[in-house]
Structures are given as C-alpha cells and as structure tokens.
Symmetry: C2
Subunit: 142 residues, 2 copies
DNA sequence: GTGTGTGCAAAAGGTTTGCAAGAAA
DNA sequence: TTTCTTGCAAACCTTTTGCACACAC
C-alpha cells in the first residue's frame, strides 16, 4: 500500500475517480516490478486472499475494462473460455503452455519482430499478435 | 452431395462412423474449393438454410471438435466470446477485421514466416499463430 | 447536489454434460 | 448385441446488465 498517491493521480488524469476499489486493484496490478498475466477469476482470487475482502465481480470487470481502455492493461488472444490480461503493455509476444494454461512473455531473443508487408486496403493495423503454443513432447493426441 | 463416398471413407479411416449428420457437415465444410472461416453458430445456420433440416447443437459441437482433433479443422485464437474455425489447415495467418468481426487469410505476400529463435526448455512448439487486428481509421477510442 | 461508481442478483451467450433413444458395426 | 452417436434439456462458466444505493467532487 505504498503508491496510493501515485495511483490516485494516475486515475484522476485518466478521468477515472480514484475509488477505494480501483486503488486496491491498482495496488495489486501495478505495485510489483514484475509484470504478470491474469484472468478475471485470478484477479478476484488475489483480491480475496491478499486483501481479505471482496470486490464485487461486476466492479472487477468494470475496472479491468476501464484500465484496458486507458491502456494500462492489454488483453491477450488465446483460444480459451476466458480472457487473459497482461500488465505489460509494451509490444511483446507470448508463449502459451498448453500443459499448464500458463502464459510466458516472449522477448526479442525468442522471436524477430513481425513486418506486415501488405495490409488490407482502407484498414489500419491495430496490433500484431503472436502466440506460440507449446506443450511437453509426450502429448496425448486424439 | 457429390463426394459422399469420399467422406465416408475419410471418416472411417479416422475411426469416426460416417453418420448422416457427419456426412452433411463434411459436405458443407469440404465440398467447396475455397476454404472458409466459421463459428459454430454460422455452421448451424448454414446447415438449417442449405439442408432445410436441423442437426442438434450438441452434435454440431461434437462433430466440429472431432474434426479438429483429427486435423480436418483448425481453431483460430481471437479474443472473442465465440470460437472460430478454419477449413484451411495449412500453416497460415490471419487478419481480423474488428469492424466486421471477419477473418481474412493472410498469405506469404503479407507476412514473412515467423522463426522462433529460442523455445521454452523441455517443451515442443505446437503452433505459431499470428493475428493482425485491423480496423478502419476513423475508430472511436475510449 | 450531480454525476460516477459499486454491488447484487438476474440474464445472457457460448459451450458442455448426462442420459435415454437410435444408428452403425 | 455391442459400441458409438444423436438429441434434448439442463447445467455450467464467463461476462454483461439493470437498478438502487453509496461515494467522489
């Protein structure tokens, strides 16, 4: 609970009122140096465990989407029943470990940046997302 | 309804019984030269319109997943409430038009093939998926 | 005070499941 | 006749919505 003033300011700058709930979520998401990946469900659990209190599901959804809209979070495309979010909003790609359903950041050492040589006429490129699916070798097929 | 024997054989080879429902779905998915993208909902509608009959939702899901497991269909990763499938199972990437929620195939003219320089230790790369999100320029943000 | 944000419960939407009846081998 | 498949409805899960109350400014 260290950067409360910082978060308060950041939220206000974005036109978001610094409510208790939003500040707590900020604290969970942005107070560690390490970036991380999470689902809404993960986040809800972390809130309950770390803060020993409940923030309503609707509010968690609202907040996460607000933060995404403001560019503080990125959503990651995976074929999954649920949405994954990333506190690292810089351009980078991901490994997805199918054994554990875990996302792993992928840096420049792992993959060259992708150049789109021809785009669809009349459209603008919003993002280029790469997902490298991995699994252990001894995979059951079928 | 031309390739029924072909489909029957193909299904049998895969250990799938060539039922009436599966053959009809084969006919819809594989009898055109063009590959295409669809959601379960799309497919269900096509079945109803083209065949003037209903195949139960559960069966459509079963069949699509069976075909995916056998490698006759690919699932495409998009952040979406629904799953998209592709009858083109060769390695290729996609544009996703956010204005229309439409998938467009992406060939070698549009993007270089991706080389993964370093993989996660102990894991095997299952696939490398690229999704290029596009939208028209005059996009409302926030 | 006014406008936002929160919380709850209900609803929605896509997908899965259990199970009895039906078809293929 | 044994095994796989279908179809239906119910269940499930994630996400969204409506609305009254509470909070921020």
């Amino acid at each position: 609970m260290s950067n409360l003033n910082l978060y308060t300011e950041k939220l206000r700058e974005s036109g978001l009122r610094p409510t208790r709930q939003r500040l707590k979520i900020c604290d969970i998401l942005f107070s560690t140096e390490k970036t991380f990946h999470f689902t809404i469900n993960d986040l809800t659990k972390i809130i309950e465990e770390k803060l020993n209190e409940k923030i309503s599901l609707a509010t968690v959804y609202n907040t996460v989407h607000a933060f995404k809209r403001k560019g503080y979070l990125k959503e990651i495309s995976i074929n999954s029943d649920k949405s994954y979010f990333d506190t690292n909003t810089t351009e980078h790609q991901h490994f997805f470990d199918e054994d554990t359903s875990e996302l792993i950041d992928c840096g420049e050492n792992e993959i060259d940046s992708i150049k789109v040589k021809n785009n669809i006429t009349g459209k603008k490129i919003k993002s280029v997302e790469v997902l490298i699916r991995v699994a252990s070798d001894n995979q059951t097929q079928n």
